[in-house]
Amino acid sequence: MNPFSVTEQPNSLVGVGLRHPHYAQALSDNPINTHIDFVELHAENFFAKGGIALELLQDAAQKYDISIHGTSLGLGSNMALPCDTLAQFAHVVNVSNAKWVSEHLCFNRALVNGHVLHSGDLLPLAYNQASLRVLATNIAQVQDKLKRPILIENLSSYISVSQIDPMQADEMSEFAFLIALCQQAGCGLLLDLNNLIVNALNQQQTNVVDYVYENIKQIPAHLVGEIHLAGFSDNKVNGFIVDDHASAVSPQCWELYTRAKALFGNAATLIEWDNKLPTWEVLVGEAQKARF
């Protein structure tokens, strides 16, 4: 049994990331909306104390099951989360009655000359015991507040920590780290297939889909609560393929998903498209492709 799945049906639930330009259509009576099982909302977009954002959150929660996806907590940061930020996050989760709650395997804050700076981005961690301890502590802080387990998403990264500090060599693989994290923190995984593909491409792996599949086979099925599908732009930035969520799901990602479904059958599946958004109809059409 998968404790992070909300269904035991063989066909997983399928949803889309709901972003601002699509609010009106997503909340309308458009018949195509019945093709969506759930929507994912970024927690920070609803951190306001009042106003239209919270009203929209409530409206969305009345119409769809909700997945709340945090993008700013940086749970690998070597410091505790401020109570007020955690309270804001918890409020969004509670108001939306979220079925899934997730964050990223990253850090984003550090003390620099007496100031805690926030990178505004998802920065990679060293895969070592020290990172595990920090993550497990911070995840526990969130889970204690929410009184429920959360999912942690694997990261797309363009640098390894050892490039910045050679003393911080990885002690284990990303996948061993993810599994150990779930065991220590009692969390689950949000498996982002596109991130894995982007990383493999940037590492110049030759057969990307096979390479990623061999790695994800290591993950016990019961740990995966949600899967992200996305695309990436062909235009490289400084020689890197960037995980920009600005395209349709890539052919590699669909191929990998077909194989991943056999491994993680009842994990919920989400189409993640955040930039250069298509029409609502196109986005819903992408979600429909994930039902097979």
Binding site: I52, A110, N113, H115, Q163, I164, F240
Partner: protein, 303 residues
């Protein structure tokens, strides 16, 4: 986990010429530089210098991806918070302003919506903006409106206004509308705000273009007047439904709102209209209708 400080410092790219110099620590900066620029893999004797050089380039390129993400997210966030300033400025100039601000004030908050509070003051220090002296005041209005639109909601209690007929006014006070606050401006910020947001469509009809030109001429005249004869005008800001709003107000009105915000009694607030009964009545009706006031409550007894 020293790498976390090093990596974040690298993403912010705090160089010696940047205005955020006060946040820098030369020792750490040198340490980072040595990590990034000298020999990331020198400890490993099998690496050739060519490999090292390639890795250094790769590291710098990777850091540039993060730096670029940070800058693009920051500019995007500032363009949303400061939508009027963004609309009034050339897009490239707004990017330059945002970049300078992002360098001067690295992000410390979790939510980008909370970032940028000091942009108005920062603009005063930018020589290139002296040709648009009204921009800092517009920025201040933008920031206030954003905060008002995100403020806690408060229910409008229409029934409570019947207390005005049944209780002594000294025992009552107004409950201000959501985000109600006062500020003042030298420049015609209301007209500038309307100009910025009324003609946002790039494909304006001929008549709209004529209207826009007329509005621009009027606003330019008002700006010239403000420079020739500086006079500050009071402005009241508040939220109606979901929208942050603002308007000019005269002396009696601003004094009445100031008194209301100080939790004074209804009689104290209304006393600012003196003998002008019709003015007082009009102000009260408009304040209730526009939700600048959301309820009447009985004052707590002072000890």
């Amino acid at each position: 986990m020293r790498y976390q400080s090093l990596l974040i410092q690298a993403v912010f790219n705090q160089d010696k010429d940047s205005p955020e110099k006060s946040l820098n620590n030369t020792q750490q900066e040198n340490e980072l530089s040595s990590k990034l620029i000298t020999k990331p893999f020198n400890d490993n004797s099998v690496n050739t210098s060519a490999d090292s050089s390639s890795m250094q380039v790769n590291t710098q390129n990777a850091l540039s991806v993060y730096r670029n993400n940070y800058i693009m997210s920051g500019i995007g966030a500032l363009s949303i918070t400061y939508s009027t300033v963004f609309a009034m400025m050339d897009e490239e100039d707004f990017r330059k302003l945002s970049l300078a601000y992002l360098k001067a004030y690295p992000k410390t908050c979790f939510d980008w919506a909370d970032y940028g509070q000091g942009l108005s003051e920062f603009m005063l220090s930018i020589d290139a903006l002296t040709s648009m002296p009204f921009l800092p005041e517009l920025a201040d209005i933008d920031w206030r409106l954003m905060q008002i639109e995100r403020a806690s909601s408060r229910a409008f209690d229409a029934a409570s206004f019947s207390l005005l007929q049944t209780k002594p006014l000294e025992t009552l006070r107004f409950l201000p509308g959501i985000g109600l606050q006062l500020t003042e401006a030298l420049f015609p910020v209301q007209e500038l705000y309307e100009l910025a947001h009324t003609y946002e469509d790039e494909c304006l009809s001929h008549s709209a273009q004529v209207q826009k030109q007329t509005s621009m001429n009027k606003v330019q005249g008002l700006i010239s007047s403000a420079i020739k004869k500086p006079t500050y005008r009071s402005i009241v800001l508040w939220r109606q439904h979901y929208k942050g709003l603002f308007e000019y107000c005269d002396e009696a009105t601003s004094n009445a709102f100031r008194s209301m915000l100080s939790n004074n009694s209804v009689s104290d607030v209304l006393s600012h209209f003196g003998d002008d009964q019709s003015g007082m009545s009009r102000w009260l009706q408009q304040s209730i209708a526009s939700k600048k006031v959301c309820a009447i409550v009985i004052r707590a007894r002072s000890l």
